[in-house]
Amino acid sequence: MENKDSFFDFLDGTVGPVIVRPGEETRRKHLEAMEKEMIRLRRIRYRNRGLGVLGALLIASIFMVIFLKGGIETSTERHGVNSSELSQLNPVRGEKGVQPASLSTPENGMESNVRSNSDNHETGESGPDISDPSTTKLVVGESSGKIVRKMESTNISRTDIPSGRIDMIHPLQMKPSTHFILGSELGSSQIRPVPDVIVSGISDMEQEERKGVSRKKLRLPGFSFGLNYTPEYMFNTLDQTDKLVHNTGLEIAWRKGPFTLRTGLSLSVATGVTELAYHFNENLGVMQKLDSVVFVFDANGRKIVPSWFFSDQQVFDTAEDVSVSRIRKRYMYLQIPLILGYDFLEMERISFGLRAGPVLQILTSTRQLDNEPDYQNNRIIRINQLTPGRLTTHWQALFGLNVSVILSRRLSLEAEPHVKYYFNSVYEKAATTGKPWSIELRTALIYKF
């Protein structure tokens, strides 16, 4: 203790702690205020929990909506025609599709059936009236030297088409050189014969390639969902031992052309050591303190007999000792990234791109991993935390290189080495000379809706 002298010891020993009991009225007033405050705090806790649950539900519903929407759009895109278009493909009856539409060339026995999977196709309620000549016309084409007929719908926009799904069936009697691709797969609403065969049972990717779809079509625009794991190694931190941070989370990305926008939620687990300086008076043992003496007159012996009553009292050294303890703590953060990406090189199955954006990190929980040091009977005077506490919120900037490997039409793997710069320190006080920064490797499995 600096500048400690005998006079201060004398003061400390003589005056000691002052005990002043509050009056009864004050006590009542204070307890009332404390109880009110406890009720208020409990309400705040319940409200926060409720908001947390609502937030989680909101995020879950957003994911579900996006997922469902993505699923329906994908279904329509893949097959290129739906029940309303189907109803237009019935040139024979000239009325709303009452039965599954059929295009046939009776002359050579070739037949391409288009069958609707929608439950209500038999009611004929879906789709515009094909008897209207302004919207539908019959187109005659040539296939294998024969005349074939098909319907060309001219004025039907995609938004007019209710959702539904049909399957293309390639009949056994169909000649290998002839089949129809529904026009919407090619960007128009025409049906054209193409010199290739659609064979059921082959993979989606092979179908795409056989249809002449560009390889870039493998990277379809729209939403994707991913799971990631990212080990991170930090620099410029106080702790020289626990620099490895583990991050894992869910992400959702939106892609248009070579650009992607990605966000999500990640959990980040970091460990660190907190140094605490314990100031204490050492326990020297127990002394017997005389509480009272009772004198009893012994009539027989004609003498006064004293009775001594003692109690144990702990004795502490007046010198102040300091002991520094290192306690490991686990910090759990919630990370919310907003990453913008640009793919500068796209090959058949692999692409390379740049990623950059901010990441918000929020400290959600702190858990102590080590036990408290045992100071037994020593009297703790005060505890100073030498290591500064951690900030609850801080921002980072992320820059990275993305390598994406396409496994199938829907699945892909991504590896992304990052450099992350922390705009503000993770500590409450500026404990290090420079801002922390880190390198990390994000690995993710991506599912395309």
């Binding site: 002043v20 006590r27 605490l276």
Partner: protein
């Protein structure tokens, strides 16, 4: 102490009886600590209430580290609140240069310090010291703060804190000597 930990847990849950026990156990110590800094009892009681509210707020985050830790933590809270109160009241917590101080006189007095005063009398003399002196003396002697911590708390330099402590010590000794020698004692310096 397990009882202390149990009491903390029950207070966090909002148990009314536990709150009363908690208050009865620690309010006297905290009020006593507060009265070292604040002159009037009503002000000290207001600060005590504010301190308990703040303690309740932060109790879930308090990490129990053994016997004495809770009291030390609460004392720190109430001392900070008392210092804030003094600042708001416009009290100068830094060096009060207007105090008359004679080095020679005090050097002589220091050599004669004895312990013939009662604790209440000494406490009274401390409470009559100027606010700045009293604050530094209390923080250093009774709260065991270091000069660097006092400097940070009061927003002054370490050397300022040291010199203020030295002057507080000398003035207190002088007043003690006056009181002991049964001279007419007049508290010259206001609170």
């Amino acid at each position: 102490m397990k009882n202390e930990q149990e009491l903390i847990k029950r207070c966090i849950k909002g148990d009314g009886r536990a709150l009363a026990t908690f208050y009865d156990s620690y309010a006297p110590i905290l009020l006593g600590a507060c009265l070292r800094y604040v002159a009037t009892r009503s002000d000290a009681e207001d600060i005590l209430q504010e301190a308990f509210i703040k303690i309740l707020h932060n109790l879930p985050r308090f990490e129990y580290r053994g016997e004495g830790a809770l009291v030390a933590w609460m004392r720190r809270i109430i001392v900070n609140l008392a210092l804030n109160f003094l600042r708001k009241k416009g009290k100068n917590l830094l060096i009060d240069e207007q105090i008359l101080y004679h080095e020679a006189e005090n050097r002589a007095l220091e050599e004669e310090a004895t312990g013939e005063l009662t604790p209440d009398e000494i406490h009274q003399l401390i409470s009559e010291l100027p606010v700045g002196y009293r604050t530094v003396l209390n923080l250093f002697v009774f709260e065991k703060y270091s000069h660097s911590e006092i400097a940070e708390l009061l927003g002054c330099s370490e050397s300022n804190s040291k010199s203020q402590l030295l002057r507080a010590r000398a003035l207190l000794k002088k007043n003690m000597m006056i009181l002991m020698s049964n001279k007419e004692y007049i508290p010259v310096y206001g609170k």
